[in-house]
C-alpha cells in the first residue's frame, strides 16, 4: 500500500506537520524562534558529520542538533544578549555546514535536497523514522504539557509549585533536536523552523486556550503539508517550499481574519 511515492510523501508531510505544530506553539510562546533557526541550520553540519563518518543521516543530524540546542540553551541562560547570539549561531551554523559538506572528499552531494528536503524520495524506512520521531516528540510534549506551560509562563512560579523549569527546558531542547532530525528529509534544513512557527502563529486568532491553539496548529499544518504536496505536483514546483508557501498563505488569511474580527463582532 505504501508503494505509491505520493502516498509516502503525504504521510511524511503529515507526520512532520502534526508533531511540529504543538512544539512550534512552545517555540513562539517562549520566543525561541531564533533558537529553532539555529538548531535547524545546524542540521547541515550534522549531514556533513554523517557523510564523513558513514553514520545514518538522521543520527548525525540528531547528534549535532542536540549539541547545538544544548549549547544555545546554556549560553542564553546567562546574560549574553540572547537575540544577537542566536542570530550569530543560526547563520554561522548554516555557513559552516555548507563549507563542511563541500570539503568532504570524493562526495558529490546534492545540497539542495538537504536545504529544501526531498519529500518525494521518502522511502518506507524514512517514513518509519519520521513517524517514530514525530511520535516521540508528541509523547514528550503530552507527558510534560502542564509543567511545560507553567515553566513557560514563569520559571519561578513553576519552581515554587515543585516543578523543575530547567528540566522542562531540556525536554523542549530534546524535542526540538528530534524534530529537526526527522524533518530535514521533508522540508530541509532551511525550512524546518517555518513548519514550527507558521502553523502555530496562524492558529493564534482561533484559540482561547493553549490546547485549542495546538490543535488548530496541527490542523493547519496538515492542511499546508497536503496542499503544498498537491500544488507541487500540479505546478511542478519544489515540494518543501510549496508546503511552506501554503502555510504562509494560511497565515496571511488568518491575520486578515484577526484584523477584521473586531469589526465583525461590532456588526454581529
Amino acid at each position: 500500500m505504501l508503494d505509491d511515492f505520493i502516498l509516502r510523501a503525504a504521510l511524511a508531510g503529515l507526520g512532520v506537520a502534526l508533531a511540529a505544530a504543538p512544539l512550534g506553539c512552545f517555540v513562539i510562546w517562549r520566543r525561541m524562534a531564533y533558537f529553532g533557526d539555529a538548531t535547524s541550520h545546524a542540521a547541515l553540519l550534522g549531514v556533513a558529520l554523517a557523510l564523513a563518518t558513514d553514520l545514518p543521516i538522521t543520527a548525525g543530524v540528531l547528534l549535532v542538533a542536540l549539541v547545538m540546542a544544548l549549547v544555545i540553551s546554556t549560553l542564553s541562560g546567562r546574560n549574553v544578549s540572547a537575540d544577537a547570539l542566536l542570530g550569530v549561531m543560526a547563520h554561522s551554523a548554516l555557513a559552516l555546514g555548507l563549507v563542511a559538506v563541500s570539503l568532504l572528499p570524493g562526495q558529490r552531494v546534492d545540497l539542495s535536497s538537504y536545504l529544501f528536503g526531498e519529500i518525494l524520495a521518502v522511502t518506507r524506512f524514512d517514513l518509519a523514522v519520521i513517524w517514530g520521531g514525530a511520535l516521540a516528540v508528541a509523547l514528550l510534549l503530552a507527558w510534560r504539557w502542564s509543567a511545560l506551560l507553567a515553566a513557560t509562563l514563569n520559571p519561578d512560579l513553576a519552581q515554587a509549585s515543585g516543578g523543575n523549569p530547567k528540566r522542562e527546558q531540556l525536554i523542549l531542547t530534546l524535542a526540538l533536536a528530534i524534530m529537526v532530525a526527522v524533518a530535514i528529509k521533508v522540508v530541509g534544513a532551511l525550512l524546518i523552523a517555518a513548519m514550527l512557527i507558521i502553523p502555530a502563529a496562524t492558529a493564534r486568532p482561533f484559540a482561547r486556550t493553549p490546547e485549542t491553539m495546538a490543535i488548530w496548529a496541527m490542523g493547519l499544518g496538515a492542511l499546508a503539508a497536503l496542499g503544498g504536496l498537491m500544488a507541487s505536483l500540479e505546478f511542478d514546483t519544489p515540494t518543501g517550499p510549496s508546503i511552506v508557501s501554503i502555510a504562509a498563505g494560511l497565515f496571511a488569511l488568518s491575520s486578515a481574519f484577526s484584523a477584521a474580527l473586531p469589526a465583525l463582532r461590532r456588526r454581529g
Binding site: R31, L153, A200
Partner: protein, 252 residues
C-alpha cells in the same frame, strides 16, 4: 518546626554577592514582611526560599511536604499565548471546578473564570495570581511585591484580601513590599535587608532601629504612627500608641 529555615545563607546574583549570612525562619501562621531598598537582595532571598536560586553558601531547609503558593512580582504573558483565567489557575495541576470557584471567590474575583488573562486589569490580574496560589493549598503564601502597579486604594484592598485569606486558611504569609505603611500594619514581623539582614523584629522594633532609619529616613515614621493609630483604634492600647506617636514626632 519552622516552615522554612535558612542558616548562614549567602546568595550571588551576576557573580556578585546579593545577600550574605542570612539566618531566617518563618513559623506556621506568621505574617512576615521583607523590606529594603532596590537591589538589597529581597527577591533573591525569595527565589532561594522557593528553590529557584542555589545558595552560594549556607543552607535552606524546607519542612518536608511544604506547600508554597507563590505570587510573582510580575507575569509577562506573551501575546501569542491564549490563556483563560480558568486554564491559568489549573497550572501546573488540574483542579476541580468547585475548587476553582472557591479560590476565585476567596481572592475576590468570582466572575472572571472565562476571561483572557491579557484582558485583565492590574488589580484583577494580581487577584487571579493569588487565586492560583491558593489552589496549591499552601502552608506558606509568598508574595513578591505583589501590589506593584496598583494604585494606593488598590494595594490597600489587596492587602486586606491577604489578611482575610490568612484568617481563612491559617497559612503563613511572606511578602516583599515597598508599601511600607500598609505592610507594617499587617505584619507580625519585619525583616529589613540591605545586602544582609540589617534589622528584624516587630514592626515597632524595626521602625525604631537606626539601621532602618538610615535606609528609609524618618519619612516612614509618620506611616508607622498611622499603624499605631490603627491598632490603638482596634485594640484599645491607647497609651502605648500615644507614646509611640509622640516619640516619633520628637524624632522627626
Amino acid at each position: 518546626m519552622s516552615l522554612i529555615e535558612t542558616r548562614g545563607l549567602t546568595l550571588r546574583h551576576d557573580r556578585q554577592v546579593a545577600l550574605r549570612d542570612v539566618n531566617f525562619n518563618i513559623e506556621p501562621g506568621e505574617i512576615v514582611t521583607i523590606v529594603g531598598p532596590n537591589g538589597s537582595g529581597k527577591s533573591s532571598l525569595l527565589r532561594a526560599l522557593i528553590g529557584a536560586l542555589k545558595p552560594a553558601a549556607g543552607k535552606v531547609s524546607r519542612k518536608p511536604g511544604l506547600r508554597i503558593g507563590y505570587v510573582p512580582q510580575k507575569l509577562q504573558i506573551d501575546a501569542t499565548l491564549p490563556l483563560t483565567v480558568r486554564r491559568f489557575v489549573n497550572l501546573p495541576r488540574r483542579q476541580t471546578p468547585e475548587a476553582i470557584r472557591d479560590a476565585l471567590a476567596t481572592a475576590g474575583v468570582p466572575e472572571l473564570a472565562e476571561r483572557q488573562m491579557v484582558d485583565l486589569s492590574g488589580g484583577q490580574f494580581q487577584r487571579v495570581l493569588l487565586a492560583r496560589a491558593l489552589l496549591e493549598k499552601p502552608d506558606l503564601l509568598i508574595l513578591d511585591e505583589a501590589t506593584q502597579g496598583l494604585d494606593q486604594p488598590g494595594s490597600a484592598a489587596f492587602y486586606r484580601q491577604i489578611e482575610a485569606v490568612r484568617q481563612d486558611l491559617g497559612c503563613a504569609v511572606l511578602m516583599v513590599s515597598h508599601d511600607l505603611h500598609v505592610v507594617m500594619a499587617a505584619s507580625d514581623r519585619v525583616l529589613c535587608l540591605n545586602g544582609h539582614v540589617c534589622c528584624e523584629g516587630t514592626p515597632e522594633t524595626v521602625a525604631d532601629a537606626p539601621e532602618y532609619r538610615a535606609l528609609f529616613g524618618s519619612g516612614t515614621q509618620g506611616a508607622l504612627a498611622l499603624y499605631r493609630h490603627d491598632h490603638d483604634h482596634h485594640h484599645h492600647h491607647h497609651g502605648d500608641a500615644c507614646e509611640g506617636h509622640h516619640q516619633e514626632t520628637e524624632n522627626a
